[in-house]
C-alpha cells in the first residue's frame, strides 16, 4: 500500500512538472518568444544565482572545516608522519589560494557580464604575455611542490637502518598476523606450500617440511582408499583424482623446496634464512617500541591487501608472490594517545586493510600497541617463550639452532585431512 502511494506521488509529481513546463512553453509561444531566446530576467536570475552560489560554496567549505576539522586524524604518531602533515598543510595553503582566486574570478565574471544587445563583448582573442605568465608561475610553484614532495618521499622510502626492529605483517582473507624474528633476531624463510592449520604463515624448518609431507601423504592415502573402496559418481571420481594429482605436485615441489633449502644452507652456512624460522613468533599482537625505527615486511596469502595505519601515516600493499616493505619511527605511545591526545581510554592504533579483498574487507583489522622501549623488551621476553616451534629439549634457548631433525619434538600433532564431500 505504502509503495503504491509513493509510486503515485512520484508519477503525479512528474506529471505536475510536465504540466508546468507545458504551461511555460505555451505562454512563451503566445508571447511570440522562442525557446532559445533567453530573457533578460532569466539571464539576471542566473547571474545572481552564480553570485549566490559563490557565497554558499565557500560557506559550505568553511562549515565543513569548522565542524569536522577536529574529527579527522589527530597529530601524526610517527616521525615521517609529522613531516608529511606539515607538507600537506603547506600544499593546502597554496591550493586554497588558487582555489579562492579562480573561483571568485569565475563566479564574479559569470555574474557580472550579463548580456545586453546594446553592447558587444570585448574583442581579445589572445594575449601571449598573459599565457606566459600563467604558465610560468604555476610551473614554478609546482616545481617547488615536486622538489619538497620528492625529498620527503626519498626519506620515507629509503631502506631501514641496521638497528631497526623487524616485524612481518601477514595478510589473508580476512585477518592480519604478526611475525617477529624471535631470539635469533632473524625472520625465517617461508614457502606457501607449507601452509596448514599449525603453520599458517608457511615458515620453513626441517620439521615443518616433514610435517607437511606427512600430512599430504595421509591425505593422498585417504583419497586413494576412497577411490579404491567407494562407489562414486564419475565427476566426483574425477574431482578426487584431480585433487590427488594436485597434492602430488605440491609434494614434488616441497621436495624441491627441501633441496633448495639444503643447497642454500650449504652455500651460505649460518647466513641462510632457512635456519632461523623455528623461533619466530607468530602472534595476533602487534607491538612496536616508541622512538625506534621499525621495518615492516608485508606478505599476503591470497589476494592483494594493504597495510594501512592512518595514525602513523603509513601504507603499503600486501601482494601475493612478493614481500613489500615500509618503515616508520613511532613517536607517541598508545598510553600517551589515550591520556593526552585522544583523551579516550578505549583508543588504539589500528592497522586496517586498504585494498579491496573480498566480502569482509570492511572488517580486516588489527590493533597496534606502541609502548616504551622497556615495556617492549618485557613483552618480547614473554613472546620468546612461545616460538613457532618448541626448541629441542637439549638446545639452549638463545643459540641459533643447528637443526638436527632426529631429536625434535613438536608440540602439536599433524592433522591429516581427509577428503570429504
Amino acid at each position: 500500500m505504502m509503495k503504491l502511494l509513493i509510486l503515485l506521488v512520484v508519477v503525479l509529481g512528474v506529471m505536475a512538472i510536465a504540466q508546468l513546463a507545458r504551461v511555460y512553453e505555451l505562454t512563451a509561444r503566445l508571447r511570440g518568444k522562442r525557446e532559445e531566446d533567453i530573457s533578460a530576467a532569466d539571464n539576471r536570475m542566473n547571474a545572481r544565482l552564480m553570485w549566490a552560489f559563490l557565497i554558499a560554496y565557500h560557506a559550505f567549505f568553511l562549515w565543513l572545516v569548522m565542524a569536522y576539522g577536529d574529527k579527522m586524524l589527530p597529530v601524526a604518531a610517527s616521525e615521517h608522519g609529522a613531516e608529511t602533515d606539515w607538507l600537506l598543510n603547506f600544499n593546502w595553503i597554496i591550493l586554497l589560494i588558487a582555489f579562492v582566486l579562480t573561483n571568485v574570478l569565475l563566479f564574479w565574471f559569470a555574474g557580472k557580464y550579463i548580456y545586453s544587445k546594446d553592447r558587444k563583448a570585448f574583442w581579445q582573442p589572445h594575449n601571449n604575455k598573459l599565457e606566459l605568465i600563467w604558465t610560468v608561475i604555476p610551473a614554478g610553484v609546482l616545481a617547488v611542490i615536486i622538489i619538497m614532495g620528492l625529498t620527503t618521499w626519498g626519506k620515507i622510502t629509503a631502506p631501514a637502518g641496521p638497528g631497526a626492529v623487524e616485524v612481518e605483517l601477514y595478510a589473508k582473507q580476512f585477518d592480519w598476523t604478526a611475525r617477529y624474528p624471535g631470539a635469533d633476531g632473524v625472520l625465517g624463510a617461508t614457502d606457501f606450500r607449507l601452509i596448514n592449520g599449525t603453520n599458517p604463515l608457511g615458515i620453513v624448518t626441517k620439521e615443518s617440511i616433514q610435517l607437511r609431507m606427512d600430512e599430504i601423504d595421509a591425505s593422498i592415502a585417504g583419497s586413494d582408499s576412497l577411490l579404491a573402496n567407494t562407489i562414486m559418481a564419475d565427476n566426483k571420481r574425477a574431482e578426487v583424482t584431480e585433487q590427488v594429482e594436485r597434492l602430488r605436485r605440491t609434494q614434488a615441489r616441497i621436495v624441491n623446496l627441501r633441496t633448495v633449502m639444503e643447497l642454500d644452507i650449504k652455500e651460505k652456512g649460518s647466513a641462510s634464512q632457512y635456519l632461523y624460522g623455528a623461533d619466530d613468533i607468530v602472534t595476533k599482537d602487534f607491538y612496536l617500541p616508541v622512538r625506534k625505527e621499525a621495518k615492516i615486511l608485508i606478505r599476503s596469502r591470497d589476494v592483494i591487501h594493504s597495510a594501512y595505519i592512518p595514525h602513523l601515516r603509513s601504507q603499503m600493499n600486501a601482494v601475493p608472490g612478493m614481500t613489500t616493505t615500509m618503515k616508520m619511527v613511532p613517536t607517541i605511545t598508545t598510553d600517551s594517545m589515550r591520556t593526552h591526545v585522544m583523551k579516550d581510554d578505549t583508543f588504539d592504533f589500528i592497522l586496517l586493510c586498504n585494498k579491496i579483498c573480498g566480502a569482509s574487507h570492511y572488517n580486516m583489522q588489527m590493533p597496534l600497541t606502541v609502548t616504551t622501549a622497556t615495556d617492549y623488551e618485557k613483552w618480547m621476553a614473554e613472546q620468546f617463550k612461545k616460538p613457532f616451534q618448541a626448541p629441542p629439549a637439549d638446545a639452549t634457548p638463545a643459540a641459533p639452532a643447528v637443526v638436527d631433525s632426529t631429536t625434535v619434538t613438536v608440540p602439536v600433532t599433524a592433522q591429516a585431512s581427509v577428503i570429504t564431500n
Binding site: 588558487a98 608457511g202 594436485r246 579491496i356 574487507h361
Partner: protein
C-alpha cells in the same frame, strides 16, 4: 556510404540525395553518423540510470548501515538483500559495476561516442565519417557490450565485484569472491566488445578529421571541440589495446592455468599451481589505459566547454592556440603518469618519483585551460542557456577536482590518502561532475541539431541548479571522510570507532545523492519529451559560427543539400570589431579589408 573525397564531390552534385530508407536502415543499422551519435546517447542515458540506481542502493547502506530498505529489496530481491539489507558481496559488486558503467559506458561511449559521431562530419564540413559501415559497427559493439555487462548482473555468483579496477588475484580467483566467477568472465567479454567499439570509432574519428575536412578548413580553423575529440581518439587508439592485453592475460590466468599475475597463492585450503607471476604487472597494464582513459573522459568535455562558453559569451575563446597546445600537452603527458595510481603497490620508489614529476607537470596545461575559460568570460556578453550554465559549472568543478589531484600526485602525501574517500572525492568531482557536466552541456547545446527541436529552458535551469548544489553536497564532504582515514570500498564503518566523528557526513552525502538523482528525472523527462514534442528549432538557434549550424534543421544524408561549405575563417569571430552582428559564420568570406585572426 563509404565516403572518400572523390565520392563526396560526386555527392555535391546531387541535391537531396535520397536513399530508399527502411525503418531498419534508418533507425537500427544506420550508417549515418548523426543517427549513430543519437544511438550512443540514448544507450548511455539508459546505462547511466542503471548506475545511478546502484549508487543509491549502496549510499543507503553507507548512510544507515545494516538497515533494511524496500528500495534495496525491490531491485535486489531476498538473495542479495535479505530483509532489505544489502549483502556485503553485492555491495562490492554494485560499486564495481557502477564504476565500470559510468567510466566506460556513460563517459566514454556516451560522451565521445555521441559527440564525436554527431559533430565531426558536421564541424569539419564532410558528408559523413570516413567509413559509415565501421561507424555503425562501433555502435553495435557498444550495444552488445552493454547487453553483456547487464547480463552479468543476473548470474548466480553475482557480477564482477573486485572494483572497476579488477585487480587480480581477487578478480582471477572465484574462490576469493563469488563475483569473480561467471560475473567476471562476462565483465571481460563485455569489455573486449567495448574496446572493439572504441577502437573502431577512434580510428574512424582520426581518419575523418585528418582527411575529410572541407576546403578552407585548415587544422588551425578547427573548432576546439574537434581538436579535443581528435586527441581523445588518438589516446583511445593507443591505450585501449593495452587494456585488451591486460584482459586477455587475465582470461588466460583464469581459464588456462597461466601465471601472468599469480604466484604463491594459498586459498580455500590449498596451494595453487600458479607460480612466477605478479599482480603488479596487471596494475601497470591496466593503468596504462586507465590514466589516458580519464583524459579520454575529460578532454571532449573540455572541448565542448570551449565551444559553448565562447558562443554564449559572444566572445572568442581566449588563447585558441594555447588551448590547442594544452590539449596536446595533456594528451602526451597522460601516457606517462599512470604510475601515480601505484605509489603504494611495492613498486620501486624511484619509479614512483618519476611519476610524481610527470603527474604534477600535467597540472600546468590544465591550469592554463582554466585561466583561459575564465578570461573568456571576462568582459563577455553572457547568455545563460542551460548549456552555458553547465559549462561554467564544469570550470568550477574542474578547479576543485584538479587541485586535489595535486595532493594525490605527491607520493609522500598519497601514502595517507591512497584508496581513501579523498580519492573517491577527487575522481568523482572531475568525472562525476566536470565530465558529466560537459556531456549535459553538449546535449542541451546540440539537441536542436540532433532532433530539430528545443529542450525546455526552465527545466534546464532547474536541472542545472539542483544538480550543481547536490553534486557538491555529495562529493565535497568525502574529502573530509577520506582525510579521517576512511578507506573506500568499505561496506560499513561500524567496526571502527575511529571514524565515528565523520560518519554523519555519510548521511549528508546520501541525502544530497537522493535529491541529486531525482533532479536527473527532470533532465530525462525533458530530453525524451522534447525529442518528440519540443518546440521546433531554427537552423542556428544559438547564433554560432561553426559549420554544423549551416546544415538544414531536417536531417539530410550527406548533411548539406548542395555542395560542401567552404571555410574562410576560424570559428571564434564573436563580437568582432567592425562587424554588424556579434557573430560571423565560418563560411562567411573575409571582407576586402578584413584580417583573419
Amino acid at each position: 556510404m563509404g565516403a572518400t573525397t572523390a565520392h563526396s564531390a560526386e555527392h555535391a552534385h546531387t541535391a537531396h540525395h535520397h536513399h530508399e530508407e527502411s525503418f531498419i536502415s534508418k533507425y537500427i543499422f544506420s550508417h549515418d553518423h548523426k543517427m549513430i551519435g543519437k544511438q550512443f546517447l540514448v544507450t548511455a542515458i539508459f546505462m547511466a540510470w542503471v548506475a545511478v540506481i546502484m549508487s543509491l542502493i549502496f549510499r543507503l547502506q553507507l548512510a544507515w548501515p545494516g538497515e533494511g530498505f524496500a528500495f534495496t529489496s525491490f531491485f535486489l530481491g531476498e538473495k542479495w538483500a535479505p530483509g532489505g539489507v544489502l549483502d556485503p558481496n553485492m555491495y562490492l559488486a554494485l560499486v564495481t559495476i557502477h564504476g565500470t558503467i559510468m567510466v566506460f559506458f556513460v563517459l566514454t561511449g556516451g560522451l565521445s561516442g555521441t559527440f564525436a559521431n554527431l559533430l565531426i562530419p558536421l564541424q569539419i564540413g564532410a558528408r559523413d565519417m570516413a567509413s559509415g559501415f565501421i561507424n555503425m559497427l562501433s555502435y553495435w559493439f557498444f550495444l552488445m557490450s552493454s547487453v553483456v555487462m547487464l547480463a552479468s548482473l543476473f548470474v548466480e555468483g553475482g557480477p564482477a565485484s573486485s572494483g572497476w579496477t579488477v585487480y587480480p588475484p581477487l578478480s582471477a580467483l572465484p574462490q576469493t569472491i563469488p563475483g569473480s566467477g561467471a560475473g567476471m568472465t562476462l565483465w571481460l567479454v563485455s569489455m573486449t566488445l567495448f574496446i572493439a567499439s572504441s577502437l573502431l570509432g577512434g580510428l574512424n574519428y582520426v581518419a575523418t578529421i585528418l582527411n575529410l575536412r572541407t576546403k578552407g578548413m585548415k587544422m588551425t580553423r578547427l573548432p576546439l571541440t574537434m581538436w579535443a575529440i581528435l586527441i581523445t581518439a588518438v589516446l583511445g587508439v593507443l591505450s585501449f589495446p593495452v587494456l585488451l592485453s591486460a584482459a586477455l592475460l587475465l582470461l588466460m590466468d583464469r581459464s588456462m592455468g597461466t601465471s601472468f599475475y599469480l604466484s604463491d597463492i594459498h586459498v580455500a585450503g590449498e596451494a595453487l599451481d600458479h607460480v612466477g607471476g605478479s599482480p603488479v604487472l596487471f596494475q601497470h597494464l591496466f593503468w596504462f589505459l586507465g590514466h589516458p582513459e580519464v583524459y579520454i573522459v575529460l578532454l571532449p568535455a573540455l572541448g565542448i566547454t570551449s565551444e559553448i562558453i565562447s558562443t554564449n559569451a559572444r566572445k572568442p575563446i581566449f588563447g585558441y592556440r594555447a588551448m590547442i597546445g594544452s590539449i596536446l600537452a595533456i594528451g602526451f603527458l597522460s601516457f606517462i603518469v599512470w604510475g601515480h595510481h601505484m605509489f603504494v603497490t611495492g613498486m620501486n620508489p624511484f619509479l614512483g618519483s618519476v611519476f610524481v614529476a610527470t603527474t604534477l607537470l600535467i597540472a600546468i596545461p590544465s591550469a592554463v585551460k582554466v585561466f583561459n575559460y575564465i578570461t573568456t568570460l571576462w568582459r563577455g556578453n553572457i547568455i545563460f542557456t542551460p548549456a552555458m550554465l553547465f559549462s561554467v559549472g564544469l570550470v568550477a568543478t574542474f578547479i576543485a577536482g584538479g587541485l586535489t589531484g595535486i595532493i594525490l600526485a605527491d607520493s609522500a602525501l598519497d601514502i595517507n590518502v591512497h584508496d581513501t574517500y579523498f580519492v573517491v572525492a577527487h575522481f568523482h568531482i572531475v568525472m562525476g561532475m566536470s565530465a558529466i557536466f560537459g556531456m549535459f552541456a553538449g546535449i542541451y547545446h546540440w539537441f536542436p541539431k540532433m532532433y530539430g527541436r528545443m529542450m525546455n529552458t526552465k527545466l534546464g535551469y532547474a536541472h542545472f541548479w539542483i544538480t550543481f548544489v547536490c553534486a557538491f553536497g555529495v562529493f565535497f564532504p568525502m574529502h573530509f571522510i577520506g582525510l579521517a582515514g576512511a578507506p573506500r570500498r568499505y561496506y560499513s564503518y561500524s567496526e571502527f570507532p575511529m571514524f565515528n566523528g565523520v560518519m554523519d557526513l555519510n548521511v549528508l552525502v546520501t541525502v544530497f545523492a537522493i535529491i541529486g538523482a531525482l533532479a536527473q528525472v527532470i533532465f530525462t523527462y525533458n530530453f525524451f519529451y522534447s525529442m518528440k514534442r519540443g518546440p521546433k528549432a531554427v537552423q542556428n538557434p544559438w547564433k554560432s559560427n561553426t559549420l554544423e549550424w549551416t546544415t538544414p534543421v531536417e536531417h539530410l544524408h550527406g548533411n548539406w543539400p548542395g555542395p560542401l561549405p567552404v571555410v574562410h575563417r576560424w570559428p571564434y569571430d564573436y563580437s568582432k570589431p567592425g562587424k554588424q552582428e556579434d557573430w560571423v559564420s565560418q563560411i562567411t568570406p573575409l571582407e576586402h579589408d578584413e584580417e583573419e585572426h
